[in-house]
């Protein structure tokens, strides 16, 4: 990879003056360069246009509510009063539930695939997990409504209420009413959707950890688990964090599956079993029905908030992943 890049840069001598430029231009190299460059710039243009359109179209709402939009708890289309707090809360809570389930599961799975499984098995399982990542979100929504919601209503929910529900503090998270739809079910669906990302990226990061690290730990008398948990995982820490951020960004922005099981009730409640709402879900549900200009503008401002949340997370995730993969390369 690196070698071909070097060749590219030096295939044409850096500078041979105007005549050389004219010659290359005649050959079409500069033309091809500029044309492809324009297409690259189109990507920059689209991304900035997205920000621009969201910003301009949310003008009404931003002018009217200002920063109070973020802590306003009312969402009232009848009186044209909009606050984003319940949606931001719902988005964060469902994503947190998803991470609490998906991170241990995903990390453990990645450890198994990178450290224990023979390479062939590891590759085939990773292949299946990539397929899982390709399942469209509306399919998760259908399974959520018809399979998970009844399951939470009749089995998982009551079980949680009657066991964890009695504990101090944590118990407050699992209180009736339990309709089956709500933060918990949405988080559960999300966790299934983001696990493939955590496993897939973490596995690759773990595989870049040099073998000497493992051998050194084992030679000092560490068990296999100790060498993995105390040496290999810390080594790959940043990359694993990157995969988690990537997964979190996906969970925050996930729309359909959540919209189908969240219960569509913009309230801030402690119980995870209660129905709630998320930013993406309310946009999906109410956008086409938004009659007033201010209503539409408030929904678009929610889109802007969501955009920045995922934008920042994705940015961080990419930096972390690149940093570890490069770091791994230096040490090996």
């Amino acid at each position: 990879m690196a070698s071909s890049a070097t060749i590219d840069n030096h295939a044409v001598p850096p500078d041979a003056g105007l005549r050389a430029f004219a010659r290359r231009f005649r050959h079409g190299d500069e033309v091809a360069h500029i044309i492809t460059l324009i297409f690259g710039a189109v990507i920059l243009l689209i991304t900035s246009l997205i920000v621009y359109e969201l910003w301009i179209n949310s003008h009404l709402s931003r002018a009217k509510f200002g920063l109070s939009f973020f802590w306003g708890r009312q969402w009232d289309p009848v009186f044209d009063n909009y606050g984003a707090a319940p949606f931001i809360y719902g988005t964060l809570v469902t994503s947190a539930v998803a991470l609490i389930i998906a991170v241990p599961l995903g990390l453990a799975g990645a450890i198994f695939l990178a450290e224990l499984a023979p390479r062939k098995l590891s590759d085939s399982v990773a292949f299946l997990i990539d397929l899982l990542a390709a399942v469209p979100s509306v399919i998760y929504g259908v399974l959520g409504i018809f399979v998970l919601v009844p399951l939470v209503r009749t089995v998982i929910g009551p079980a949680l209420i009657h066991s964890v529900g009695y504990l101090p503090y944590v118990g407050r998270l699992f209180q009736p009413p339990n309709y089956g739809v709500g933060f918990f079910t949405a988080g559960l669906v999300l966790s299934i959707m983001i696990v493939p990302f955590i496993i897939s990226v973490s596995r690759e990061v773990l595989l870049t950890v040099p073998r000497e690290q493992r051998e050194a730990a084992l030679a000092l008398g560490a068990t296999r688990w100790e060498s993995t948990w105390k040496v290999v995982v810390p080594w790959a820490r940043t990359g694993i964090m990157g995969s988690i951020f990537l997964a979190l960004a996906r969970a925050l922005g996930e729309t359909m599956a959540v919209a189908m099981v969240i219960g569509n009730d913009p309230k801030i409640v402690t119980s995870l079993l209660a129905p709630g709402h998320t930013i993406a879900a309310v946009i999906a549900n109410e956008f086409t029905e938004a009659t007033g200009d201010l209503y539409l503008s408030a929904l678009i401002e929610l889109g802007l908030v969501l955009f920045f949340m995922t934008f920042i997370l994705n940015g961080l995730a990419r930096i972390l992943i690149v940093a570890t993969e490069r770091g791994g390369g230096h040490h090996s």
Partner: protein
């Protein structure tokens, strides 16, 4: 004391390592559970009418999602026409021409664009393609999907171009070919198979997208002639039918889900098998 400690460490070793295996097994099991549920519930409602007929009004049983299937194909065609060329050319730029700083900026932006939530892409398509003409259209839906195709295509194109050995480029140039000729006649054909499969994968991914279509292509209970009218699409239809209170529509939603999932998984399976034979390919 030390014996006890050793036993504890060995025990912990076995327990934790087994748990990692259980975790991996659980995640793979989910895939098969999903497949199982869809086949069990969807296959019952699949028949020829499902593929050819229009949806029936509430209360009448039967009918199908013919218009949604055609709608999805039209949207994908538009997405391919609008998104793939941009992705391909930008990928060529990154792999063959790009300098340091500007390529980094484009690459980074591409990743960010890839991470933009699909519902936000929907709002964007609404703002640029629905508001100006004041009605939902197939074109707006295709545009929304086109935006989503671009970043995936860029990354796969760049990766396959970079996998082409430098000696091929040198060979062509040594024969006196200019750089763009080398790219067009040697490098691109060498990476062609991979690039095409990468494109197919990106289309398979957007084929299941629902959120960007909700307020661009919208929905339609009839056939949608031409490109200027709202159109039904498979994912949106599944969404609306699954949320409806009617048993017959639920049945159809399962069937639609099975059709959609089969298409997406078969495309993925085929592409990934081809790609795996050619070398590594990262999807995320």
């Amino acid at each position: 004391m030390s014996n006890l400690r050793l036993a504890w460490r060995k025990g912990l070793n076995i327990v934790m390592l087994s748990l990692t295996g259980v975790a991996a097994f659980l995640v793979v099991a989910v895939l098969f559970l999903i497949l199982g549920f869809l086949i069990y519930n969807g296959a019952k409602s699949l028949n020829w009418a499902f593929f050819t007929q229009l949806p029936k009004p509430v209360g009448e049983t039967g009918g199908g999602m013919g218009n949604a299937i055609v709608g999805s194909l039209k949207l994908l065609l538009l997405a391919a026409v609008m998104g793939l060329p941009v992705g391909l050319m930008a990928g060529v730029y990154l792999a063959e021409f790009g300098g340091k700083t500007f390529s980094f900026v484009i690459r980074y932006t591409t990743d960010l664009l890839n991470g933009v939530p699909s519902i936000v892409i929907g709002i964007f398509a609404f703002a640029v393609a629905v508001v100006p003409v004041k009605h939902f259209s197939t074109l707006a839906g295709g545009l929304a999907l086109g935006f989503m195709v671009i970043p995936i295509t860029v990354r796969s194109t760049e990766e396959f171009l970079r996998a082409v050995p430098g000696s091929l480029r040198e060979g062509a140039m040594a024969l006196g070919a200019s750089k763009w000729r080398t790219i067009a006649t040697v490098v691109l054909p060498a990476a062609g198979g991979g690039i095409l499969t990468g494109m197919l994968l990106s289309l398979a991914r957007v084929a299941g997208e629902t959120a960007p279509l909700l307020f661009s292509a919208f929905s339609n209970t009839y056939w949608s002639p031409g490109w200027g009218q709202p159109t039904a699409s498979l994912p949106v239809m599944i969404y609306r039918y699954a949320l409806s209170p009617y048993d017959d529509w639920h049945r159809q939603a399962w069937a639609g889900g099975l059709v959609l999932l089969s298409l997406v998984l078969i495309a993925n399976l085929g592409c990934r098998l081809i790609l795996n034979r050619r070398g590594s390919f990262r999807s995320v």
